[in-house]
Assembly symmetry: C2
Homo-oligomer: 713 residues x 2
């Protein structure tokens, strides 16, 4: 699944910042989450524990998010929510002139629980990316090109739509500096901004002498949402079996503690939900698509504390945690615990790119208090750790090391059990996909056309039949014809096309299994593709092959390889506007860092043995068709004839096994080695997947893995 | 000719600095010049105006640089030069504890005049790269791996050799911080450090409370060199004909003035010698290999002043300058002129990465004085211009814009006349090379073997016969067998190999012509290459072809393309430790910025239409052989079937036309399109070069441009 490269690299914004260039994100703040349209809610239907797809419109109706359900009241001459929000501005315990409502939860999650969809509730705009800013007399919302049309439909006239990325459109802080008189107070909920983002915001509005006010103790949107606000998720957590996790929790904690010792720290705060889940070999289902649960974790030298709603923790899980010496505290106790650590004089490791401003500033002010109390007897101020990563943060008098979380890299390098689980789940996923494509090929020929949504639902059915299936790993992108050219297209039942045989059909989908996470895109044509479509498809395929076949020395950052996926397109003046590869978690988030393969140059993370990346070049012809070919790849060490420089050379092993439609390949454009690649890959697909299939599906796989004829020579 | 990528990117060190990583240069300070071994001195022999090659040992004898000619006096129990230098430390007008002697001249030149070879004079070490640091009781010199052996031979026991790049070797400032007691005074000649380099040095030694002392009014090495010091060069300058320059001086000055206006500046100081030469359509011969002359230029809104020894300026040149409204002042008057501008309240554009600390600090202190005089009536302090380039400099109270010189980019983008001159000179160079290779192939078969130096001298003879030849554009790298594996190998008559038919011969050479500058490398075997040599050569060739054939969107920085030249080598675990391409001047320096194609990621300069870059991948097997294949390429806009994003797509046009030895190609490794590339290139070589040849050479060219047989299919 294609993503903006910026989304997963906390270091990117910092690097760009240090280089005095604007960060390459499309968006004013960090872009880590997406509000799903076609939602999959665990356990929301029947007693079978199965999941059910709900359309975004249905969801909106259920949750009161829709603008038609009372958000704006034209009769009363204005937007009641806005009026309520503004009334709160002047409350003595608030006292602000503007309030910023981002899309985030407190953990920088990509997928968030509904109770945290405050921006969607306030504005009525349900797109995944957006930041709302409300002043006493103005209301504006920033979103990017994916959502301009949707936002225009959903927003009332009281909202000004700011089309991010368009020429002349200011950033939120530029706009605030423009519309507010000098010296105003701009409020935020400090839980919803990473400390770095809050600092950046503070800096940029200080140009106009505005003060950033961290409104503590309440979220103003929650105040007006009141009882209608959905309850925080209370889904039970589970133990992620050691046969899939590979390394037990005590070993992982030891590893973190050795990092603490190296950095002379007493404790680290882990706030990314997938990092907590990975470190504790636990999984949950508080949000769609990601098997995570709302929590924080503090690892100290001899203890570890999980901050979580104890109702989510069964006896089994509790026993699992106790064995590893992990105590429980309430989710809300995180701030007071951090303050307690400051009082104890503990030195804290904080990843200020992910830990929210509420936690970091609580620690800072507690440290300050301690300092004042003890005078100069307190521990001396530390400069940041000796890391290559820039932090973008001044330490002041805080007894902390600002550094990327010690879990980030460890989690990205998969162990043997995780690799095994990823391989196994990919084979089952491949079987489901073969059944699906075989079915769809038949179905398209029939007289009643299927919609993009129906097709996605059927794919879900095939996946559900596979062992260990849990849910989709993201909203399925099912785009026929021109819809395929919309990179982040989400069909809705009310507004989607039929899948026919006159154009290309792009299908980007993935699943969460008990043992692994998948993400695959195939583009097919059920009729006769045009020469143009074949040429473009073949160029995309050549890029896919070039990256797949890359060999590179250790310490190579992913962006170095990005060009390999583009050269074939560039040769005829084509390109695509997204990165080529993202990291993927093992039975965890479908998007994870720190590595990426992107044309943006800020992410210097080296690709390492054991990491998983997607390989997904594409081409999108506006209003016409879209093409993407995506496999997941495991990075492995190669045993070559030479090793110049005495270092390792790395390459890729494919995890994804599904036919690439031969009909779309213009073989005359391929070199002999590219033809061999296609034939070898198809042979491998057949060998690995046919044992899982029978009957018509097996025939379909056989037909679709036949060698290309070498027509060039 | 291969260079360290860092050498030509002033922005690189700054970017690396901002990213808090150590700059990737091999060397403590900027590496822009090289002390030649096989020197070519214009007009140093006979009355024919021809140039003559002198070996470095001969040069050393002539100039008293050799350590055997009295640098160290073992009888007196120590190094007299060091003693003399240290005596100066305590003079009241000096008062320092250490003195740093870099290799630079005052203009960051790659090739420098002998009177500025102070580090070589002081230390006896004549390698091109090195920084000497002398304290009251210690003397150390830093150089890189190219020169370890030579330095060991040339240095006396009083000098400690610091092997830069080796594990645990400190930088100069780390060493100073280590060996000096806290609070010492470290002296430099401010003319020999760019302002940025001086600031960086100041910062790094301030850790130990050392003070950086700019020793003005004298260079301490010159003081001890005394009358033996060579006189500054007084070679006459000449007008670079408009038919080669393409754009007249008034137009170029207008262009610079429009940039002054945009940046609200009153004047700019141009200090790079090639920038002065380019801007004024003048050439000189003050240094070997580069047609430049020692000078500074200040362009103001309505005037321009050239600071140069007036003896170098003939009537013709004077008339040329007067027509363009350029006045003359003595070379030494630059500092007082800059002070005068400060007094006038002029706002100055300074490229602090190239303008030396003497000039910048003179301007700063003059501004400070003005400020104090006028109180707050003076012009208000300006922040740096709105440029993407980081400057790494705090502006303080200086009325200046620190930005890359406005000439840098303009010079790198060649106009039609410059392109024409480059093409024409490359054809004549190709003819000389064909004659040379034809001769050498015969010669190697004879019984008396030729040395690497003799071969280089013969090449020079063939080039001299070409119209408009001036001199070599750098020291010829003529390396047989294992010598070819030394990337910056320079043979000397006393210490060089014979060129035989048992191993590879690498020849990297270039010339300055009246209308253009060339730089070409070919690797050949006069006997039977081993399969290993053929495999490596073919991999290098594949990298060369991949880069040559690249198509890329506008705004692509060069480093994005570097990987294309390496993938074929990486596939078998090989690599090379230098960049792939550097900029080349038009009848100017063989190395110029701002663009480069390198595996180092700091240089974000986009490759642009009209720029020239080298394409020179290689492979070097230590103690065995070296391979490099180098052509120069012109960047041009392509007319493709598509232009996704509505932007231009760029590609390369070859300027260099010389056969690539077919014998060394393992055709079975090539794809059909690679075979076509070789055949097309050879056809082009034949078509373009044969009209300039006759007889045996024409036969040689015919034989060496025959198509490869396609043995793969």
């Amino acid at each position: 699944m294609a993503i903006e490269a910026a989304r997963l690299s906390p270091s990117l914004a910092a690097a760009a910042f240090l280089a005095r260039r604007p960060p390459p994100a499309l968006f004013p703040f960090s872009l880590r989450r997406r509000l799903p349209h076609l939602r999959v809610l665990a356990g929301s239907s029947g007693g079978d524990g199965r999941v059910v797809a709900l359309s975004s419109s249905e969801l909106r109706k259920r949750r009161g998010l829709s603008s038609s359900s009372g958000a704006a009241d034209p009769a009363s001459g204005g937007d009641e929510k806005l009026r309520s929000l503004r009334r709160l501005f002047s409350r003595p315990d608030v006292g602000i002139d503007a309030y910023i409502v981002p899309s985030q939860d407190a953990h920088q999650s990509e997928f968030i629980a509904e109770c945290f969809m405050r921006r969607a509730y306030l504005t009525g705009f349900t797109g995944s990316a957006g930041t709302a800013v409300v002043t006493k007399d103005k209301a504006a919302i920033w979103t990017d090109g994916r959502y301009f049309l949707q936002a225009e439909k959903e927003l009332t006239h009281e909202w000004t739509l700011m089309r991010s990325g368009n020429h002349g459109v200011p950033t939120t802080s530029e706009w605030l500096n423009d519309v507010l008189p000098s010296g105003c107070r701009v409020g935020i909920d400090p839980f919803l901004f990473s400390f770095d983002a809050a600092e950046e915001l503070k800096d940029s509005i200080s140009n106009k002498n505005h003060e950033l006010v961290l409104v503590r103790g309440m979220n103003l949107v929650d105040e007006i949402w009141g009882d209608a606000r959905p309850k925080p998720p209370k889904e039970p957590t589970r133990v992620h079996d050691i046969k899939y996790a590979g390394i037990d929790v005590p070993s992982k904690l030891s590893f973190i503690r050795s990092h603490l010792a190296e950095n002379e720290c007493d404790a680290v705060v882990i706030s990314m939900l997938d990092e907590v889940a990975w470190l504790l070999n636990m999984r949950g289902s508080d949000v769609p698509h990601s098997p995570v649960f709302y929590s924080y974790l503090i690892v100290e030298v001899s203890t570890a504390t999980l901050f979580v709603d104890s109702n989510k923790v069964s006896e089994d899980v509790l026993e699992h945690l106790e064995k590893a010496g992990v105590k429980l505290k309430p989710y809300e106790a995180i701030v007071s615990e951090v303050e307690r650590l400051a009082e104890k004089g503990a030195k804290l490791w904080l990843d200020s790119s992910s830990v929210n401003a509420a936690i970091v500033t609580a620690f800072k002010s507690s440290c300050d208090k301690q300092m004042k109390k003890k005078g100069k007897a307190g521990k001396k101020v530390e400069k940041e750790a000796s890391s290559d990563e820039p932090t973008g943060v001044e330490n002041g008098t805080v007894n902390a090391v600002y550094n990327v979380s010690p879990v980030t890299l460890a989690k990205s390098v998969k162990n043997e059990a995780e690799i095994e689980g990823m391989k196994n789940s990919h084979l089952r996923d491949a079987a489901a996909l073969a059944e699906f494509w075989c079915w769809l090929e038949e179905e398209v020929c029939k007289s009643v056309p299927l919609t993009e949504v129906q097709v996605a639902e059927k794919l879900l059915e095939f996946r559900k039949k596979q062992d260990g299936f849990i849910e989709t790993s993201f909203d399925t992108i099912s785009g026929y014809g021109a819809n395929g050219a919309i990179i982040h297209y989400r069909p809705t039942p009310e507004d989607c096309s039929s899948v026919g045989s006159d154009n290309l059909f792009l299908l980007d989908s993935g699943a969460q299994y008990i043992d692994g996470t998948t993400d695959i895109t195939r583009t097919v044509h059920f009729g006769e593709p045009s020469p143009r479509q074949k040429e473009c498809f073949t160029r995309v395929l050549q890029g896919h092959i070039a990256l797949d076949q890359a060999v590179f020395p250790e310490r190579t950052p992913g962006f170095v390889l990005d060009v390999l996926a583009r050269t074939s397109l560039w040769k005829i003046g084509l390109d695509y506007r997204h990165g080529t590869g993202h990291g993927v978690g093992a039975a965890l988030n479908v998007h994870e860092g720190p590595q990426s393969i992107s044309y943006r140059y800020g992410n210097l993370t080296a690709l390492q043995k054991g990491m998983i990346v997607s390989n997904e070049p594409g081409y999108y012809e506006d209003n016409s068709f879209g093409i993407r070919i995506e496999n997941l790849l495991l990075i492995k060490e190669l045993n070559l004839a030479n090793s110049f420089g005495g270092i390792s050379y790395l390459g890729f092993e494919r995890l994804t096994f599904a036919p690439i439609q031969s009909k779309l390949i213009d073989v005359s454009l391929l070199s002999p080695s590219e033809i061999n690649w296609v034939n070898d890959y198809h042979e491998e697909v057949w060998d690995k997947v046919y044992p899982l299939l029978s009957g018509a599906t097996r025939d379909w796989l056989w037909k679709n893995t036949r060698p290309l004829l070498d027509v060039t020579h």
